[in-house]
């Protein structure tokens, strides 16, 4: 087992940056750097995970984002925890619009529940309450065999 390697980052501005054309979930490993620039990231650790890597972004607010890449360098799953939600528009990329459309604000007239997505090609499960959030997102058609989202 290879030892994880880490490097420190200079915190960058959260806002005002141009939007990248490609996105993290479903994008290639380079998009993780874009995510980094969108959030205040204190530490970026990389460790082997299956045939790919696990990129762990430690946020300045104590939150954490885990991005899993497969052998081809594609991000196939993300997990987040923290006192505030991370930049989900950046992390989910094109899939952010799907999360938004599947969870319209008008649905609040019934259930008051966390957003979720259950599609053939996209799963999102989230939860928590104000000040403590968590969530999982993965691409079922791109995950390694034997994938268990609970292990993210």
């Amino acid at each position: 087992m290879r030892k994880p390697f880490t490097w420190l980052l200079v915190p960058t501005l959260v806002v005002g940056l141009p939007h990248a054309a490609s996105a993290s979930l479903g994008g290639n490993v380079d998009t993780i750097t874009t995510d980094q620039s969108r959030m205040v990231v204190r530490l970026h650790a990389v460790a082997r995970s299956g045939a790919g890597n696990l990129h762990t972004l430690t946020l300045a607010n104590g939150g954490e984002v885990r991005e899993y890449t497969n052998a081809t360098g594609m991000v196939y799953a993300i997990r987040w925890t923290g006192p505030g939600k991370p930049d989900l528009e950046s992390l989910l990329g094109v899939h952010f619009a799907t999360m938004q459309s599947d969870n319209p604000v008008t649905a609040r007239r019934g259930m008051r529940r966390p957003p979720g997505v259950n599609r053939v090609d996209l799963k999102i499960v989230s939860g928590g309450h104000a000040g403590a959030f968590w969530g999982y997102a993965w691409l079922p058609q791109s995950v390694p065999s034997g994938f268990d989202p609970a292990s993210l």
């Binding site: 989900l88 528009e89 007239r109 008051r112 529940r113 104000a130 000040g131």
Partner: protein, 442 residues
């Protein structure tokens, strides 16, 4: 049947509220345990009204919900009435009903549309070191609110906080008209109307003193709250706000934590509600725990929470470490794919067992033993009456579209759990009865 139940509830309320003199002394409608006293006796033998209680109403919500294409009536949402005044004024005030009482968040937030223009003008916007208005984004689990941070003298029951920071949701003054990208990118929408929020405002009385804590005390620091520098060109830079637990406040505070006394937590006391529900349920919100004769901890079991406000529920043998009690969640939210799901239109995600189910979750705090949180789950489609706004025993899968979700780490004990109970929420770092917050107790 529904009409009869509603009538009984009203009669109980009427009977209980007679004979008290203080304006805030309305008693609860039919709650049984331990909170009946409404006066204290001073050393001279005269009685002084305790003014640490205010009514909670679970009803259809403000009229503004039930209009237009997306009209609806509220279900299982507890409301209180509060008063805000321009700082230092006793006349430039407004009493606002149907403010959502939320044990799962922190801070008072009012919709701009319900505030009269004179009061809005009188509540000065907080400013940053550049003299620009402060804006705030605050995230809830499903959506967010964005608006200005202003100061007001806040009053509820006999309790008050002078120059308390609050959020005016949907305030588009100056540069506040556009929601910053770093706010909207958290997902969901801005709940900037009464109809979208489901209330005229929200009063968060959760387990922390401030709404962001240490994470907002550095430039670019953001947590569940994000504070912005808002020049007329728009809000973009994230500014630091001190985590002051006493005046002058910078972050929004838990309004209860700002009281001169009775400032260590709350008790939500709601009546037992029949399975079909009632049109209106009325209870009592007590301020303080163990500070008056009416708010003793008594025999309630203390469940210390994590810093995140979590306890561990165990359900069907599985420990769920991200569990919580939340008056702002309108049902029980938990994952159990063995329970029949509703198939009716508009009921996706709700549980529809063919007969009432006795469920036996337990809850354990960060110390102490697990205690029962058992309840009866009813069919969400057939059991509640058509006109019921307060319905017990209704549950749903939190991720409605993933009924057999592989992720199972949370049990959200929403408002149905509060019916027929006194639920205590103690604020972090404050001694409340025999224990220090943060804790839940019941």
């Amino acid at each position: 049947m529904r009409q009869i139940l509603a009538t009984i509830a009203l009669l109980l309320l009427t009977a209980c509220s007679g004979g008290t003199s203080g304006a805030a002394n309305t008693s609860s409608g039919g709650t049984t345990s331990g909170s009946s006293s409404s006066t204290t006796t001073s050393s001279g033998g005269t009685t002084t009204p305790v003014t640490n209680t205010t009514p909670i109403v679970v009803d259809a919500g403000p009229a503004a919900l039930n209009v237009g294409a997306n009209a609806y009536t509220a279900t299982n949402i507890p409301y209180v009435t509060i008063t805000v005044c321009a700082p230092g004024s006793t006349s430039n005030c407004q009493t606002i009903d149907h403010v959502l009482l939320d044990t799962g968040s922190v801070g008072l937030r009012l919709e701009a549309s319900v505030l009269n223009s004179t009061l809005l003008a009188g509540m000065a916007t907080q400013t940053d070191t550049q003299g620009n208005p402060i804006g705030e984004c605050y995230e809830y689990v499903d959506n967010y609110v964005f608006g200005s941070v202003r100061s007001a003298d806040f009053t509820v029951a006999g309790e008050s906080v002078a120059s308390m920071p609050l959020q005016v949701i949907g305030d588009t003054t100056g540069g506040l008209g556009t929601v910053p990208h770093s706010c909207s990118s958290s997902g969901g929408s801005n709940m900037n109307t009464v109809q979208l929020l489901g209330a005229n405002g929200i009063i968060g009385v959760g387990t922390t003193v401030t709404d962001c804590g240490q994470t907002c005390t550095t430039t670019n620091g953001s947590g569940g709250a994000i504070y912005y520098d808002c020049p007329t060109a728009g809000c973009s830079a994230v500014v630091s706000r001190a985590n002051n637990a006493s005046a002058p406040y910078e972050q929004l505070i838990n309004p209860v934590a700002g009281f001169a006394s009775d400032n260590n937590g709350t008790i939500l006391s709601l009546p037992t509600v029949a399975p079909t529900g009632v049109v209106t349920a009325t209870g009592t919100l007590y301020f303080g725990i163990g500070t008056q004769t009416d708010n003793a901890l008594g025999s309630a079991t203390v469940l210390p929470t994590t810093a995140d406000g979590y306890v561990t529920a165990t359900y069907n043998g599985t420990a769920l470490p991200s569990s919580f009690l939340d008056s702002g969640s309108n049902y029980y939210y938990f994952v159990d794919s063995s329970i029949t799901a509703c198939t009716q239109s508009g009921y996706t995600g709700f549980y529809c067992p063919s007969s009432a189910l006795s469920l036996t979750p337990t809850i354990k705090g960060t110390s102490g033993s697990a205690i029962s949180a058992a309840f009866t789950l009813y069919n969400a489609y057939t059991e509640p009456g058509a006109t019921s706004n307060a319905v017990p025993g209704v549950g749903a899968n939190p991720n409605t579209q993933s009924f057999s979700s592989p992720i199972n780490n949370s049990f959200d004990f929403g408002l149905p759990f509060f019916f027929g109970r006194n639920v205590y929420t103690a604020i972090a770092g404050r001694q409340a009865g025999s224990a220090y917050g943060p804790y839940f107790a019941y």
